[in-house]
Structure formats: C-alpha cells, structure tokens
C-alpha cells in the first residue's frame, strides 16, 4: 500500500497501468477495482471517468458498482483496518461487548478512523472463523477467540 504522503499524480499513473492490465478481461470491473484498492487502499472517485471510458460504462455505473459492495471504499482508510465480526456465531460468544469495547477505546464508531489515523473500524459479517468466535480481522490477519484484552493488544500494536 502506498503511504499517505504519496502524491496522487503517481496514483493516476498507477490506475492507468491497472486499467491496461485488466480492461480486456471479461467482467473486468470488479478485478480492476480490487487491484486499485489493493494498491491505494481505496478507489478514488477521481478515477471514475478514466475507468468508465476504458470499460465503456457510464460514470454513474462505475459509481453504482463501487458503492454497492461493502468491500470498496472511496476514501483513504487509516494505516490499519480493523474489522469486527457482528454475525450470530460471534454474537453468541460476546462480540457485542467486544464492539462496544473497541468503539470506546478508539473513540470512534464503525466506518470511522481514529484521530491519529492509526485504525479504521469496520463491521464484518462472518470471517468463516465461527468455530473460534468472537473473531476480528486486522488488515489481512485473522484473530480468533478475541477477548477485550486481546483487542487492547491489537490496538496498541496498530498504534505503535
């Protein structure tokens, strides 16, 4: 992921390259959006015209797809993304308390980023780790049987 100081002009070049790479695949839009978000951390709205032109879609269609899917975001997240599972299995093992603890410690709600830009908090509906509920994902790492004190340790590490 590019760090937050990277000028957007590089992002434009990167997006052009990714478009060239993906535009000829059948159903190219999702793989392309993934590639952009994997590299930049988000899909900048400024890229919509470029994407729409390459894939022969309207800007509204691109916007419609980006906003339909929970995974895609149009704004840069914090340095780390923490997802807490809200699904039934995790609820049965105390995820509600974990959510409340996270929101209180980070002083933010879901879809928000901490003041120091360290953590963006997101909800997720099942990580497939239901045997070891409650579960949390930090970036691409999954954690099972997470207690509030485990969560504190994860937060401390992310803020370090």
């Amino acid at each position: 992921m590019l760090d937050s100081n990277t000028p957007l002009v590089d992002a434009d070049a990167l997006i052009s390259r990714l478009i060239t790479e993906h535009q000829h695949r059948p159903g190219a839009l999702l793989p392309l959006l993934h590639a952009i978000q994997d590299n930049l951390g988000y899909v900048p709205e400024s890229a919509y015209p470029q994407i729409s032109k390459a894939l022969a879609l309207s800007v509204a269609e691109v916007h419609g797809v980006v906003t339909f899917y929970h995974h895609f975001r149009t704004h840069k997240p914090g340095r780390n993304v923490m997802q807490i599972c809200r699904a039934e299995s995790c609820q049965s093992m105390g995820s509600e308390a974990l959510e409340a603890h996270a929101k209180k410690c980070l002083n933010i709600d879901y879809h928000q980023t901490t003041a120091d830009n360290a953590i963006t908090l997101e909800a997720v509906y099942c990580l497939g780790n239901c045997a070891l509920s409650p579960s949390v994902m930090m970036n691409d790492e999954i954690y099972g049987r997470v207690s509030p004190s485990d969560l504190d340790a994860l937060i401390a590490e992310a803020k370090a």
Partner: protein
C-alpha cells in the same frame, strides 16, 4: 532421518497462532540440530485443539494440541518428534474419538495432505474421479451425479445432476462452470476449509463438471473475507495447469478447461446465484428474475452450471467410487454426507462430516460437548442467518432436508450456531431484520423496505409500545416478505424472525404458554 511435522495453514488455526507455532518449531529444531520437515496441512477440524501439531511416525501420525509458542521448548524436551508423551499429547490422530466417529468422504484429505502438493493429492486417490470421467460421455457423467442423489450443498438442495443435465442439453458455443464460493452464512466455514485444505478436490470437481456439460471456462467466485483461500486456490490452479490437469488439453483428452478465481467484494446477496453472476459480469449484484434459469442463460448470457464449493468437491468421489457408493450414505431423499459446522457457544467446535440422519442433539452434545459457557443451550440456529432458531424440544430432529422442512426450518449449508440461556431472542429477531437491511440488493420492495420496517417494529415491541398490534405487524410483514421477495434473502429472513417469536414468545413480552409447535 528427517521427521515430518504437520502444522496447519488453515485460517482458523492461524487465528489462534499456528504461524507463530510453525516458526517457533522450525527455529527450535534448528537450534537443537534436529532434521525436521514442516508441512503446512489443512485443519483436521478439531478447532478447540488448534494449533494441533502432528508428528509422522511408523505407526501413524501422533497429535499434540492445543500448542502455543510457549509449549514448544517443552515439546522438544519431551522428545515429541519421536512421539514421546507430553501434557499436550492426544495420541494417534486417527484414533481420536471425534475423528473416528465421522464419515469423511468430501473431507477425506483435509488435514491429511499438503493442500498444494499435486503428488500428495494423487497419492491419496486424487484425480481418480476425473480419469474415470474422461472415459465417459457427458451424459454418462451427468447420470452418475444424478444417481448419486447429490443435492446442492449451498442451501437450496436442488439435485445437482438435474442442473447439469439442463446445461448439457443446451446448444451453445460457450458454456461456463461457476463455483459459488461466497460462503457468507454465519456458522459456516466448510467451503473455506476445502479451499484452504484440499483445493485440488474443488478443481477436480469443477473440471469434471466442465467435461460433463461441455464448458471450457470455470470461475471460482470467492468472498473477499478469505485471503488465505485465495492464496491456496491460486497455488493449486498454477500447479494443475503446469501438470496438464487444467488447460487446453486436460490430461490429453482433447478437452479444454480453464479456471480462474474471482474475488467478491463483501456483498452477502452475491451468494444468491443470479446476483453472483451479475457480480462476475462486473455489475452491481442485483438479483435477476428467474426464468430464464442460469443453466440456460447464465454468465454472459450463456448456459452455466452454478454450484456451491461442497457440491462440486463431492463430485470426484462419486466418479471415483460410483454413484451407488455415495448414495448408500444418508436417509430418505438426503443422500451422501453433509459436512456439518459446529459454531458459536459450544465447547468443541469444528467440522463433522456425517451421513445425513444424525440428530442435532448428538452433534451439540456428543461432538460439541455442550455449551462453552457451561450454561444450558437454549437456542440453535441452523443454516445461517436465514435459518430458523430451534428450541431444545426440536433437538432430536434428524439432519435431513425433508425432516427440517417439516418443522419449518432449513439445513442450509450445514452450519449450526449454538446460544446459551443468556440469549435474548427478540434481539436476535431484530438482528435478522437488520442484517437483511444491510445486505438487501434493493431490487424488490418486500426485502428492501420490509427489513428496515422490521427493525422498527421489533424496537417498538421491545419497548412495549402497542404490543399486540406490533406483534401482528411483524407477522404480516413476514408474510409479505416470505411470499413477495425475489430471492432467499428477503424470502427467508422471516425464518429466524418468526421461529424466534414462535418458540421463545416470552422474549417478546408474551406469555410462555403461547409457544407454538
């Protein structure tokens, strides 16, 4: 002599530290000058024992677990690499009761083999099914799948052979096989375990499907929440391509089959087959009207087989051992085995593959060991967020599609989530509506509007406002969603809502004696 040690690479094992354990064991072996080879296998599915480390011995594998990094020096001190006893000893893996009591067909190799080793896969009977299939006509393959009685394991339980037969019967220059790997139901993880623990069995199943119906391109639509499955699948696909098990000329048969993994993007509704196809085409995942069926007009308008991971992964053994062998497992019209996933508030959660017919009580207590918190199990949700909540009085229902239909419940994808007696069922009903509101694709009104109204009405009930009137309103709303929604998301949200209301009326401020069936 080199000692082989198995340490899972499965997500759930990683979630409790398997990676650190693997690193620590490698480092400790090195510092002691011991010659060990570490294989990163899938999980055996005994998740309360993860990280479960196994050591290969002439008598079979010996297991230790749950191993934490801090246990590693003492394991070496106890000479575990020569299978010597330790406080974490579990004995011979195959002799562990939980494993012995299962009937593993689809999951036969998961936890046993190196998931991305083709040699290992073949040494454990892999690709026998495809080799048999290549000697048969498409119609003969489809007949075998039909005769096995295999029904879609994704939830709808539609006969797989009938679906394939429709695609086989369509004339088209291009057909597709699409694997629905958008496993989004809470309490389910068997798709993930197959993709991480034995990706070749899915690849083989899809290849057989392609050969059977004349499809040359396959897509695995994989949920974005499964990064480790993505890695394992891509590694296995690359190996299969290089070895000629995929590509323009599958095993010299002259038949082509190409396979690609496509990442989903966090929309639950894309587990519904028509919205999945829209998503694969690069659009918003809006549900399509049926007909036309995807088997006739599917991906990019072409005939398409859309099957769940477990359905496709069950095909190789059917083509290997025969339709009758598979059909001999099960009861009634539910043939073969079901990989059951125990989740939530249980002592021993994990994957149990059994022939249809076991009861919930056996699974919850014999396998699950009762609740994790030690309190009574009060409610069990079977079949994901759209499945009914079952009270204790229904725990003796056998796992069989028709038996579950009789009690107005669903087996779905075989996920079982247990709740202890601290659960508030009106809150769970509210959550069901809330989840539907978050995940609705928005195309049909009952689902889009009904779910949001449902949350509001449950809130009124919970605060006691116009109580009787609002209870009736939930029932009316549920009736509209059941009968008027375009797909299962809106159409089945009433299952958790009404089952909670009917079986646990006291949680909605009603007298307990109004309890129905």
């Amino acid at each position: 002599m080199t000692t082989t040690i198995y340490i899972p690479r499965d997500s759930s094992a990683l979630s409790v530290g398997a990676e650190k354990v693997a690193v620590a064991i490698a480092a400790e072996a090195k510092s002691r000058g011991l010659d060990v080879e570490i294989i990163r296998n899938g999980s055996r599915g005994l998740y309360w024992l993860e990280t479960m480390v196994e050591v290969s011995t002439p008598k079979g594998r010996v297991a230790y677990g749950p191993v934490k990094v801090k246990d590693v020096p003492s394991l070496f001190d106890a000479d575990f690499i020569n299978a010597k006893p330790h406080a974490l000893s579990l004995g011979l893996t195959e002799e562990i009761d939980w494993i012995k009591k299962q009937q593993r067909l689809t999951f036969a190799r998961v936890g046993v083999t190196n998931p991305v080793s083709l040699d290992d896969y073949i040494a454990h009977d892999g690709y026998k099914g495809l080799k048999n299939a290549l000697k048969l006509s498409g119609a003969e393959i489809v007949k075998a799948v039909t005769d096995s009685g295999l029904r879609g394991r994704g939830g709808a339980a539609f006969p797989t052979g009938i679906k394939w037969n429709t695609v086989l019967g369509c004339a088209s220059e291009q057909k597709y096989v699409v694997c629905n790997a958008d496993e989004g139901d809470s309490g389910t993880y068997s798709d993930r375990m197959i993709m991480e623990g034995d990706p070749f069995v899915l690849i083989e199943g899809m290849t057989i499907a392609g050969v059977a119906v004349g499809a040359t391109q396959g897509y695995i639509y994989l949920r974005s929440e499964y990064p480790h499955a993505l890695v394992a699948l891509n590694q296995a696909i690359e190996v299969a391509n290089k070895a000629g098990y995929l590509g323009d000329d599958v095993l010299g048969s002259g038949k082509a089959f190409h396979l690609e993994v496509r990442r989903a993007a966090g929309a639950y509704v894309c587990g519904e087959e028509t919205s999945l196809l829209e998503s694969l085409e690069g659009k918003r995942g809006l549900v399509r009207f049926k007909p036309p069926l995807p088997a006739i007009e599917g991906l990019f308008g072409k005939p398409t087989v859309v099957n769940n991971v477990i359905s496709l992964a069950s095909v190789p053994i059917i083509l290997d051992k025969g339709a009758q062998y598979y059909a001999d497992y099960g009861m009634g019209r539910s043939r073969g085995t079901l990989p059951i996933q125990l989740a939530g508030n249980l002592k021993h959660n994990g994957l149990v593959e059994l022939a249809f017919g076991a009861t919930l009580r056996e699974l919850l207590y014999d396998f699950g060991g009762g609740s994790a918190t030690g309190k009574p199990i009060r409610a069990v949700q079977v079949g994901g967020p759209l499945g009914a909540f079952l009270p204790e009085s229904q725990f003796d229902t056998p796992l069989d599609y028709e038996e579950f239909t009789k009690i107005w419940a669903v087996l779905g994808h075989g996920g079982i989530v247990a709740f202890d007696d601290t659960v508030d069922m009106s809150k769970m009903a509210r959550y069901a509506f809330e989840f539907c509101a978050v995940e609705s694709c928005g195309k049909c009104t009952p689902c889009r509007i009904g779910s949001t109204r449902g949350v509001e009405v449950i809130d009124k009930i919970r605060s006691g406002k116009d109580h009787a009137k609002n209870i009736q309103l939930v029932r009316d709303l549920s009736d509209t969603m059941l009968n008027g929604s375009l797909c299962a998301l809106g159409g089945m949200t009433p299952y958790p809502v009404l089952s909670a209301l009917n079986h646990f009326p006291q949680d909605f401020g009603l007298p307990a004696e109004t309890q129905a069936g």
